[in-house]
Amino acid sequence: MTSPRERPAWGAIVPFLLPATVFYLGLTAYPVIRTVWNSVHEVLPRREAYVGGAHYVELWADDTFWRAVRNTVTWALVAPFLEVSIALLLALALYARVPAARILRIAWFTPVLMSYVVVGIVWMWIYNYDWGAANAILRAVGLGHWAQPWLGTTDTALPALIVVTTWMWTGFNMVVLLAALHALPTEVIEAAELDRCGWGAKLTRVMVPLILPTILNLLVLSFVGKMKIFDLVWITTKGGPLWSTETVSTYVYKRAFEWSTFDLGYPSAIATVWFVIVMSFVAVLTWMVRRQQKLEY
């Protein structure tokens, strides 16, 4: 029983909110503004000069940047569907009352807890041409001619990394979907059974539509995560070969801290453009999810 809340008791609210506000303004809001400010300046260690939109003009013609955008967006579009669809399959498998489901659920969730640094090194080994597990398995089943330096060719490097994120995140998505399945009202499924629905029909007509909001949320979550990706690429390929795995994050980092230019203005312009792109994607996706949910209920 909640009572209508009191008129603002500022004496209590301010001390509670102040520390968070200081953190937020100082270490989140201010850096965002500062980055935008940077983006119209040349920011060298001993010199800062206003350059207007010059960085943005340069950015427009920067092939590597657009390559990075293409890679990142590809990743962010492909990975969510892989993760969520495999996760759905696995969740349904566990939902069908297999033995040891609890242990499997915990085991499958583990990869997501690992640092991308650890994951990156492990998968570099797995993809090693000479003794990596990927090629070892191919050779063992007589497909040795398919063996590849998976992270070393422009055709396979990005897909290989997408496999890594799928490996990492599918278990997470599975756990969420399983929870959503278990939260379904049993009457609905029983009703479907009474209606003599087959397993397939039950799935596509009843269960999936009911957990659709969760599925959409997971897709958005995964999408946003991939738009940020940095560590994995930095550890494994540094964006190579031939920029085929360059992401916006790695390019910003390269331009800010690895290229010998020392200018922080240009990478800030990249970051600013990317910030706008990501936020508009998120806004559109959120709007779509909301609309979808309105249709559902």
Binding site: M1, S3, P4, E6, R7
Partner: protein, 352 residues
């Protein structure tokens, strides 16, 4: 122990709209058990919370022992409150729940311990002092909530529907316990409920509220016998008083095709006629004649519903163990003179 005085107390929320409470005026005497009764949303809880200091008072004055309390924070009003949800701290033992309010007051440890043990003894909570609230039954939790109030030895106890989360049997016995507790402590208590049985059995006086206003204040039986408005009349009693549209003309009351003599002089025109179901007596030649449309045998009594010709609403009749007439039969009734209440048809106010 103290008196609590409300003078034209009101509450208006910042958002605008109708005031949640207005013009509430009463005085609770020393040691009195005062009940605020009404349906949900009538403003009784808001009134109580204003007394407690949990809601700011926007109009009027609140005084305890004659001292203005409007601006005094809750902790300094020396009141204790028992919440509907009990509001027990889930992370503390029963003992700590009771001691929590005392610790704040820099009371010596020994005194805290004494008070907690006394309260626990009164309420039979000694075996549970070390338990957490989630390990208690509903009734035990309720007693802890009361105990938390008792240890404080406050001037005024406030109860906000403390029994509504209990099942029916437990509610009856706890009611008795609270009455005994009130006698034992002799404290001033203000008790909010929407349950008329609680109000009738526990209150020295009850205050019935409707739409943020006081409808009637009085001793339970007085209020029952002479409801001041149709609202009070309809709220108290189960089944409630029959309230039927009638007309006064020529010194008589016309109810559909029936005509009754006036119990008192009232102006002519449309009125609402009220008569309690238990006051209707079946007699062969009674003036109220109708057809039985429903029979509800309850064992100790039987409730009949009648349709009177020319009257839209059905009339309820409370009869003895056996029904005086069967379904579809016709029956004639009479009501004693002093059992007929007349209310203004427009305002609902008592005319007689």
């Amino acid at each position: 122990m103290a008196t609590v005085t409300l003078d034209r107390l009101g509450k208006r929320y910042a958002g605008g709209g109708a005031p949640a409470v207005q013009d509430v005026t009463f005085e609770v005497a020393h040691g009195e058990f005062f009940v605020l009764l009404g349906p949900s949303g009538c403003g009784k809880s808001t009134t109580l919370r204003m007394i407690a200091g949990l809601e700011a008072i926007t109009e009027g004055t609140l005084a305890i022992d004659g001292k203005r309390m409007n601006e005094v924070p809750a902790r300094d009003r020396d009141i204790a409150m028992v919440f509907q949800s009990y509001a027990l701290y889930p992370h503390m033992s029963v003992y700590d729940n009771m001691a929590f309010g005392l610790r704040r007051r820099a009371m010596p440890k020994a005194e805290i311990d004494r008070r907690v043990r006394v309260a626990a003894a009164i309420l039979g909570l000694e075996p549970f002092l070390g338990r957490r609230p989630h390990a208690l039954s509903g009734g035990q939790r309720q007693r802890v909530a009361v105990g938390r109030a008792i240890v404080r030895d406050p001037k005024v106890f406030l109860f906000d529907e403390p029994l509504s989360n209990l099942d029916a049997a437990l509610r009856a016995s706890t009611r008795q316990e609270l009455i005994r507790l009130h006698r034992r402590l002799g404290a001033t208590m203000i008790y909010v409920t929407h349950d008329q049985v609680e109000a009738m059995t526990m209150g020295d006086r009850i205050c019935i509220m409707d739409h943020g206003r006081v409808a009637q204040i009085g001793a339970p039986l007085d209020v029952y016998r002479r409801p001041a408005t149709t609202f009070v009349a309809g709220f108290l009693g189960s089944p409630p008083m029959n309230l039927l549209p009638a007309t006064v003309a020529d010194g008589r009351v016309r109810l559909g095709e029936a005509t009754l003599t006036l119990p008192a002089r009232v102006p002519e025109g449309p009125v609402t006629l009220g008569v309690r179901p238990e006051d209707l007596v079946p007699v062969p030649e009674g003036p109220l004649r109708g057809e039985v449309v429903a029979v509800e045998p309850l064992g100790a009594e039987t409730i009949l519903s009648l349709r009177l010709p020319g009257v839209e609403r059905e009339l309820m009749l409370r009869a003895g163990r056996s029904a005086p007439a069967g379904l579809g039969e016709r029956i004639a009734l009479v009501a004693p003179h002093d059992a007929i209440h007349l209310f203004d048809a427009a305002t609902g106010c008592r005319l007689t």
